[in-house]
Amino acid sequence: MKLTREGIDRVAVLARLRLTPEEQASLTEDLDHILGYMEKLNQLDTADVEPFNHAVNIENTLRDDRVTNQPNADALLANAPARDATFFKVPKIIE
């Protein structure tokens, strides 16, 4: 499955990554290389195999419905690149 230029662009947008033309070129090569290696998997017949679920065989780790957190907006906002009172301030979102 060869990766096209459009394919790379589409994936970059999905991942919110901006790639320079150089990065694009080297990435295309890298990914092709690795994806070719991945084609290996098609050698195996896995029709009757269940996808791996979890390494641990435990059921249902659930929590009780109780409020256990203390409000502390300041602690949470301490690392914010921008804030306005107790809001996170972000670039304008156009609906």
Partner: protein, 488 residues
Amino acid sequence: MSLAQLTLHEASDKLRKRELTSVELTEAVYQRIADTDDKVHAYLTLAREAALEQANRADEKLKQATDPAPLLGIPIALKDNFLTKGLRTTCASKILGDFIPPYDATTVDKVRSAGAVIIGKTNLDEFAMGSSVENSAFFATCNPWNLERIPGGSSGGSAAAVAADECIAALGTDTGGSIRQPAACCGIVGLKPTYGRVSRYGIIAFASSMDQVGPMTKDVRDAALLLEAIAGQDPADSTSINSSVPRYSAALNGDIKGLRLGIPKEYFVSGMQIEVGEAVRSAIRELEKHGAVIEEISLPHTEYAVAVYYIVATAEASSNLARYDGMRFGRRANGKDLIETYMISRDEGFGAEVKRRIMLGTYALSAGYYDAYYLKAQRVRTLIRKDFDAAFGRCDVIVTPTAPTTAFRLGEKTQDPLQMYLSDIYTISINLAGLPAISLPCGFDGEGMPIGLQIIGKHFDEATILRVADTYERATEWHKTKPRIQDR
């Protein structure tokens, strides 16, 4: 001999006997760091003031305690993907900026509660992606055995710190070999517990279904003691198991008579450095002398492990790393609008390897490819797991080299990502199956570089692999050899 050269159990013993104070020990470690870290570059952040406060408190407790916990007063280093409250955490990435976590990882909380002294945060490959620490956004770490070589990765900083006595012990994380391979490169002990044995809460996630926290130490007993302190169910981690933690240190009785050692034929192939093969075979013979028996086994799907790993791990990582968007923490670039802000922040914040893996993972999950890549990989993962289940029907532990070669030279392999991936081949299957495994030194090559022996166990059978490792260690002197850190 500097106090910094003590092992955890030796130091604990001396502290208990009041032959030593935690403050003295901590100062000795910082002195050692001052002497050597300008060459090794193991640390990203040091926390001397806080550490000395902790050491003081530990000394107070030691005065009153009749049976102090083994970790009380012991200087520990943490890989910089562990969240430490109030102490800068970078994950060796620019994207976190000057992020100061508002909470401690569960395992950090545990070692703090046990009275350990946190020396600082060690270097790693950015977001734990890599096997040499060359992917750190800040600088490379050097192997104390030869400063021109890599320390292994991604927990290379922790491994180097332990090997260079820049801490008494350290914690690292292992997703595809990231504790074991650097342990092998640096001639120390590194243990990856069973998936679910130790809490992942507060560890910056890479591949959620594989990440595990583990001890990196100077000997096997230390690893057992540190594992005891960090293992156990965490209500904040849904994937951590509810099962009691054995006293691992009490199980080190040297008795491995009749123990069946599985030797997988797929691991002993050409491409392995000759000395590595020799050292590992020699180690196996040593174990046989102690009563273990060899069992030839096969893990037929070994060759597919790397492909499976690189699809599943990158897919999970691409999703885990979406939160690094410059909106609520970390570094934000100035874009003309929201989308541009996302893209530039992430472009400037992430290094090349991280971007590569995010792209790969996003691609593997994207519409039209999910079945062919992700789902297929997860099915093959089941086959790999089944290989191990079958093998463990015929043996008790599996013995292999930790890596096919000793540590590369810095810069040697970084241009070829595929080559780097291949060096993971002995460790990755274990993460895919969620098994516990330990690496410990078993010799040196002709250039004096350490060789690692890997012992893999059944799920939740850390006790057996520790016992085997300890038996071997006691019969050898590798762990007593220290690197002489020459000038670069």
